[in-house]
Symmetry: C2
Subunit: 261 residues, 2 copies
DNA sequence: CAGTGGTCTAGACCACATG
DNA sequence: ATGTGGTCTAGACCACTGG
C-alpha cells in the first residue's frame, strides 16, 4: 500500500470516528453548554487514544457541520482543547492532535535526559540560538552580575518522541567561557563546555517555579496555540566555589510536566 | 459623603477612565487583532493601578459600545483578562477588577503563614470542610495506605488582603488522630492537632508541582472564572519516624505564586 | 422586574499555507 | 486558486442576580 492510500484511509477512519462521536444526541443545554459537551467528547477520544497522535482533524466548517453547531461554538470547544495542549491549530493548514498530555516526571537536580530517558523513546535537543549579548534583567539577578555585562545566550528545545516539550533560555557569564561556541558545537553539550573550562562539578543553587502565558515566539517553537498557559522554571547553577555560572529559564506546556522536589 | 454617593462617584471615575482608554484610535488590524489591543489597554490600566481593585466595570454591552466593537470581540478581550486572573465576572452581577497578580513567594518547607507574613497585611484561613471519609486515590498513593481506608478530610482557603489565593485539600489517616475535630476546632491549627497526638516534629517528604485547570468548584471558591489555569502542588508530610501523616493538594491561580526550592 | 454575563447563530472578510 | 484557521459583526435567547 503506498503512502497516499495509507493517508487517505487513515484520514477516513478519523472522519468516521468523529462522525460517531458527533452522532450522539446532546444533553440539555442547561445541564452543560453544548461547546463543553463537544469538548468532553473530543477530549475523551484524545485521551483514550482513539484519535491518533498527529492526526489531522476535518476543517472547522466541516466539524461544525458534523456536530450540528455554528462554527463559533465549534471553535470554542476546539479552543479549550488547544489551550490544554491536546490539539494544535496551524493557520492555513489544519488542526492536529498533539501528543496527549503525558506528564513527564522531572526530578530536581537531575539533568533533563537523565530524568526522562526511562519514559521516552526518542529525545532530541535542538539548538535554536547561540549568541553573545547583554545579560537579561532576570538573569542579571540570578547570576549576581551587573546590567550590561556580556553573556553567552543559548536557546534550546527538547523534543520527546517528536513533540516539542521543553524550551530553555540559558545565559552564561561570557568571561568564564572564552571557547564556549567551539566546544559546544562539537557535541551540543554544556557539560563538555564546563569541563573544557576547568569546571568539573556544578550544583543547582536555587529553583523557582511560576506560571505564565506563552509569548507568540514560545507558542511557535513549542507548537502550541498563542497565549497557552505554561509552567516556568528558573534556576541558577554554581561552580564548586559557589559562584553562579549559569542561569536557566525553562518553559513547559502546563499539562506536560510534573516537577518532583 | 455617604456610601451611595461615594460609590456613584467612584463608578463614574471608572467610566471616565475606560472612555479615555477606549478613545485612542486602534492600530491596524493586521498589526494586532483588535481584541488583543483592547486587552493590552485594559491590562495596562489594571497593572498600573488606575483601575481600582474591586471596582466594577460597565456591562459588556456598554463596554462594547464604548470600545466601538461587537460584544463578542469585547468578550474575547475580557475573557483573556479573566483567564489571567485580572478580572472576575459574576453572572447576573457584573465584571470586577481582581487583585492584580501579585506573586507570593513561597519557600518550600516553611509553613504558609511564615512565608507570607512579610508580604501581606491580612492573612485569613477559612476552614471550608472537615469530615471523615474514604481516602482519595491520589492521597492513598501519597500516604501509602489502601483504598477504602478512613481519613480526615480538611479543605481550607487562604485569603490574603481579602483575596482568595490558595486552596488546599488535606487528608490525614483517621486512625492516627482520634481527637482531630475537637482539637482543630479550638484554634484551627493542624500543628496543634499533631502536638496533641504526640507528634512534635514533622517533615515534608516530597513535593510535586504540576499544572492544571480549575474545576467549577475550585473557580467558585477561588473567585476565578471557570477553567482558569492553576498551579497544583501536592506534598506528603511524615512524622519523626518517616511515617506519612498528611497528604496535601494545594492549588494557586497561575500568576499568583512563585515557589522557591 | 430589569440588567447582567453566558451561549449560540448565520454570515462575512482576511492572511496564510499548500498544491 | 483553493481551503484553512483567525477575526469580526449584528442579533438573539437564556439563566442568573439584584432591587
Amino acid at each position: 500500500m503506498n503512502e497516499q492510500l495509507k493517508t487517505r484511509s487513515a484520514r477516513s477512519n478519523e472522519l468516521e470516528l468523529i462522525r460517531a462521536i458527533a452522532s450522539e444526541p446532546y444533553k440539555s443545554r442547561a445541564a452543560r453548554p453544548i461547546w463543553l459537551q463537544i469538548y468532553d467528547r473530543l477530549a475523551d477520544a484524545c485521551a483514550g487514544g482513539s484519535l491518533r497522535q498527529g492526526a489531522r482533524l476535518p476543517g472547522e466548517n466541516h466539524l461544525a457541520e458534523i456536530f450540528s453547531v455554528s462554527r463559533l461554538t465549534m471553535r470554542k470547544a476546539l479552543s479549550k482543547l488547544q489551550q490544554e495542549g491536546q490539539l494544535q491549530a496551524r493557520k492555513g493548514v489544519g488542526i492536529f492532535v498533539r501528543r496527549c498530555p503525558t506528564r513527564y516526571r522531572i526530578k530536581d537536580n537531575l539533568r533533563f535526559s537523565e530524568s526522562l530517558k526511562a519514559d521516552a523513546d526518542r529525545i532530541e535537543t535542538n539548538t535554536l540560538e547561540l549568541i553573545r549579548c547583554s545579560v537579561s534583567a532576570e538573569a542579571a539577578v540570578g547570576l549576581g552580575i551587573d546590567r550590561g555585562t556580556q553573556v553567552i545566550f543559548l536557546k534550546r528545545l527538547r523534543v520527546v518522541d517528536g513533540e516539542p516539550i521543553y524550551l530553555t533560555d540559558k545565559e552564561f557569564p561570557a568571561c568564564r567561557f572564552p571557547d564556549f561556541e567551539t566546544i559546544y558545537e562539537k557535541n551540543q553539550s554544556v557539560t563538555e563546555v564546563y569541563r573544557a573550562h576547568g569546571i568539573s562539578q556544578h550544583a543547582r543553587a536555587e529553583t523557582r517555579v511560576t506560571g505564565g502565558f506563552a509569548t507568540s515566539d514560545d507558542s511557535r517553537i513549542l507548537k502550541l496555540s498563542d497565549r497557552t498557559p505554561l509552567i516556568k522554571v528558573s534556576s541558577t547553577n554554581c561552580d564548586a566555589d559557589g559562584v553562579p555560572i549559569e542561569f536557566t529559564l525553562g518553559r513547559w506546556p502546563l499539562s506536560s510536566v510534573e516537577l518532583v522536589f
